[in-house]
């Protein structure tokens, strides 16, 4: 069963190869098989030579001993003419050899013609077996092995093998002796004295056994080669799958890069154009305020109001630009971005943020970095906005198995945890990467966010 599946896979592979225009590595694969096949051919040649020479030589000895009449009595049937046995069987076997060469050359190109050649081989082999008194049927095994080697079409291949096996089973002296008048090869051997008989019988069975051994070896190599081909196929297939995955990653990165570029451009434009305009307006307003001081208190107040709105707008724009830049994760590293974040908080003056890094920092995937950054950012915002904390501690610990992120504040805390949209989103992301997030808080006991993100294998192996 396994064998058939292996074979089917090979044929599929061959078809795929042909479709894709690749050369099916037929020759290289079958080199070893061909050597064994040649050895089987040579051995069969030796067997034919043995059988026909025994017939020839024994006949000569019988005539020399004047035992021809008695031999005909024992033989029961009209024996083949000795020189014809020798000439016909060797000649036919050489033709089989020539046919094998042709089949090898046209194996893939003309499968039907190769099958026809196989049929003619079958007839030749039957003819040889007939000439050898049906006492040797190893030639059918040679044909069967040849079918595996030379006939690529699966239907034709198995038809050929079935025919060879039928030949192997039925072209047997013991079966045919019932219907066809043939002299037993044994009759020739029994003409000799017992010592010689033992010698000849041993030679005969040695040749038979060797043929079987070589056939077994042939099929062993055949199965081996099919298994190897199958493995190769699976390997190539896996490689292809990996490549596709890599391509998808690259594609995503390219998309990210394009997005980032667009955001950068947007950030720069807002910063340069809108920022510049607002700065000019603010400077202009400052001059106007100075000029209007005392003359028109109303105007002065209004201008002051406009100025503060403008300044606020300018600050908002700067914050937006920074966020745009942060969102694009245009950072040389996560830690740097986190330091910037902490510094921004400290600049505002009301809250003190402290960043603590433990262990050997590892490079994370962009998505992961973004998630960690968002987690810290969201937590800081919450600490300042809702917790009114004076101190926030950001602790990033790089462990062997993963990364531990702890954000703790001394704010007013909360009796219940209400997760806002941003927090939920981050939680989902961390879980997606196989990580966990925990929140600890109580009334007037501050707020602790503790997350764990496992490191990917590539990172670990780096």
């Amino acid at each position: 069963m396994t064998f058939v599946i292996t074979l089917l896979t090979i044929v599929r592979y061959a078809v795929l190869c042909r479709k894709s225009g690749k050369v099916f590595p037929y020759k290289v694969m079958n080199k070893r098989l061909e050597y064994v096949y040649t050895a089987i051919y040579v051995l069969n040649f030796a067997s034919i030579l043995f059988f026909s020479l025994v017939v020839y030589q024994t006949t000569m000895i019988i005539c020399n001993d004047d035992q021809a009449r008695d031999f005909l009595e024992v033989a029961k049937y009209l024996p083949h003419v000795p020189w014809q046995v020798l000439f016909y069987s060797i000649g036919s076997f050489i033709l089989v050899g020539v046919s094998n060469r042709i089949k090898k050359t046209y194996s893939v190109r003309m499968p039907a013609a190769v099958f026809l050649l196989f049929l003619s081989d079958l007839l030749l082999v039957i003819f040889i077996t007939y000439n050898l008194n049906f006492s040797y049927k190893g030639l059918f095994l040679l044909l069967g092995a040849g079918a595996f080697l030379f006939i690529p079409s699966i239907v034709l291949k198995f038809s050929a093998i079935a025919l060879s096996l039928v030949g192997f089973i039925f072209f047997d002296y013991d079966i045919l002796a019932v219907g066809i008048n043939i002299v037993a090869f044994q009759d020739y051997i029994t003409y000799y004295d017992p010592e010689m008989q033992i010698y000849l019988y041993s030679l005969k069975s040695t040749l038979d056994s060797l043929n079987f051994i070589l056939i077994v070896l042939f099929f062993y190599f055949l199965i081996q080669s099919k298994i190897r081909e199958n493995k190769e196929f699976i390997r190539v297939n896996n490689k292809l799958k990996d490549k596709v995955e890599e391509l998808e990653v690259v594609q995503a990165k390219l998309e990210d890069a394009a997005k980032m570029k667009e955001r950068n451009r947007l950030a720069h434009e807002i910063h340069d154009i809108l920022g510049h305009s607002l700065t000019s307006i603010s400077t202009g307003l400052e001059a106007c305020i100075e000029v209007s001081r005392g003359d028109a208190p109303n105007l002065h107040d209004r201008l002051n109001n406009i100025k503060s709105v403008t300044d606020k707008g300018l600050m908002d724009i700067r914050r937006s630009v920074r966020e745009l830049k942060n969102d694009a994760v245009d950072k040389s590293s996560l830690l740097e971005a986190l330091r910037d974040l902490a510094a921004d908080v400290n600049l505002m003056g009301k809250t003190a943020a402290e960043l603590i890094i433990i262990g050997n920092p590892a490079k994370l995937d962009d998505d992961e970095e973004r998630t960690v950054y968002r987690l810290v950012q969201e937590s800081l915002t919450n600490s300042i906005k809702h917790g009114k904390a004076e101190q926030v501690k950001i602790e990033i610990a790089f462990l062997t198995s993963g990364m531990k992120i702890t954000i703790s504040d001394n704010g007013k805390g909360s009796p219940v945890i209400v997760k806002n949209f941003g927090l939920k989103h981050i939680e989902e992301h961390i879980e997606l990467y196989g990580g966990t997030v925990e929140f600890h808080t109580a009334e007037d006991a501050g707020f602790v966010t503790a997350a764990f993100l496992p490191l990917r294998k590539e990172v670990l192996s780096d």
Binding site: C63, D66, R69, F71, E73, A75, Y77, P82, N181
Partner: protein, 455 residues
């Protein structure tokens, strides 16, 4: 056009060119083959058809024949002139004596060099028919316009049949019978009653003939020379094998009768063996005889050499209590090889040799056997030339009777081997005075064993 597609196109053109080249080469080879076959066929037609014929000198009935091959030379001449337009030729392979022929011929068969047509020894016929060396002649006979099996004596034809198929045709035949020393009978005052010619009478005469004439204490006159179990067996209405050839086919009672009769005859001689030539010297009353001897010694000049001191006469074999008179018919058989490449021509030769009246006349003229063609034999009795030559012809009625009643050996492979075994066994029963009932049982066992061994 890119470089790659250009090179692909060039390759394609090259391939196409190669295929065209191949086709032209194939066509040329095919034409050449047709030419060679045509020339060979033309030559084959022109070539003479040479048919080989192997012969032996001597025969199974042991009577010498002068110029043994002469009649076959005649056959070859007649055949070649009859088929001159077809360029048929006969080449004779001669030089083997009867006793050496079997092995010599077997060697030719074994090495695939047997001639197209050949004489077949009686002992070889069954073997060669059964192994498939002999061509079945029935289809040829059925198609033949000139040959009719009805013209031949049926029993002579029967000798060439194996398992209901005709494998050989008879050329000539030699019937056998008994001869009696009439002079001796007259001297002893014995009377032959051929109307009531039975074993009993035969034994009585043998008993009367057996004597020690010079009173030296040893027998010197006997009843019969050359009489053995075969004659007794067949005249008591028995068959050696059952029709399937698988076991002994004879009836125990008849066999016991035969053994007792042979024992009586044997006992008469008191252990003395009747030798070849005792009859000739007038020391035996009966002798087994055949047509060949009859033709040689019954007519001038050979008559002077033997059997001239007394009057003698041909008589049938005596019949047993449960059978009728019968005698062995010797035949000369000719067959063709199933491996011959000129079977049609070969059969034409057989047709001539067995069927042509002219050649059958030559058999009478140039051999001391009888033609197998019944019309030729009939014509001899009216032919003045034959009468003038002083040839002693057997009485026509007698000849017809023995020919009709004669037997041939069973068409059974290895028959001669089993025949030897039976002969030895019977001799043992008779000579060692075994109980015939027990002997028959043993004999049957021996035959069964031999048959099993052969198979």
């Amino acid at each position: 056009m890119t470089g790659r597609s250009r090179s692909a196109k060039m390759q394609e053109q090259k391939d196409r060119g190669r295929i065209r080249g191949n086709r032209e080469l194939t066509a040329a080879l095919f034409l050449f083959a047709v030419l060679v076959i045509g020339i060979m066929a033309a030559q084959y037609r022109q070539k003479a058809v040479v048919i080989e014929l192997s012969l032996y000198s001597g025969n199974s009935w042991g009577v010498p024949q002068n110029f043994a091959y002469a009649v076959y030379d005649r056959a070859a001449e007649m055949f070649e002139s009859a088929y001159a337009e077809k360029n048929y030729h006969i080449v004779l392979k001669t030089g083997k004596m009867y006793k050496d022929y079997s092995e010599w011929f077997a060697q030719l068969v074994l090495t695939g060099r047997e001639p197209d047509v050949f004489l077949i020894l009686e002992e070889d016929f069954n073997t060669y028919a059964s192994i498939g060396l002999l061509e079945n002649l029935d289809p040829y006979i059925a198609k033949s316009e000139v040959f009719s099996a009805e013209t031949l004596f049926p029993i002579a034809l029967e000798a060439g049949r194996y398992r209901a198929k005709q494998y050989s045709l008879p050329i000539s035949m030699v019937p056998s019978f008994l001869i009696v020393n009439k002079t001796l009978f007259e001297e002893l005052g014995l009377q032959l009653d051929l109307e009531n010619w039975t074993w009993e009478q035969f034994y009585m005469h043998c008993a009367a003939l057996t004597a020690d004439t010079d009173d030296d204490g040893e027998l010197d006159r006997f009843g019969v020379e050359g009489y053995d179990w075969h004659q007794a067996f067949y005249t008591n209405g028995m068959e050696l094998f059952d029709p399937a050839g698988a076991s002994a086919g004879f009836d125990d009672d008849r066999m016991i009768e035969m053994l007792e009769f042979l024992k009586k005859i044997y006992d008469l001689n008191k252990g003395y063996v009747v030798r070849d030539g005792d009859f000739e010297k007038g020391r035996a009353g009966f002798k087994t005889f055949n047509v060949s001897e009859y033709r040689v010694y019954g007519s001038f000049p050979y008559k002077l050499l033997r059997y001239d001191d007394f009057e003698w006469e041909a008589i049938p074999f005596p019949s047993g209590p449960q059978g009728a008179s019968t005698s062995k018919l010797y035949t000369v058989q000719i067959g063709m090889s199933s491996r011959s490449s000129h079977k049609k021509a070969a059969f034409s030769f057989l047709e001539l040799i067995a069927g042509s009246d002219e050649f059958q006349h030559k058999i009478w003229e140039e051999t001391n056997t009888l033609p197998v063609n019944r019309f030729v034999i009939e014509s001899l009795y009216t032919d003045e030339k034959v009468q003038q030559d002083g040839v002693k012809l057997l009485d026509k009625g007698f000849l017809e009777n023995i020919l009709t009643a004669s037997y041939i050996d069973p068409d059974f492979k290895n028959y001669s081997y089993i025949d030897d075994i039976v002969t030895q066994r019977i001799f043992k029963i008779i000579a060692q005075d075994e109980d015939p009932g027990e002997g028959v049982k043993d004999l049957k066992d021996d035959i069964r064993e031999s048959l099993t061994y052969i198979r």
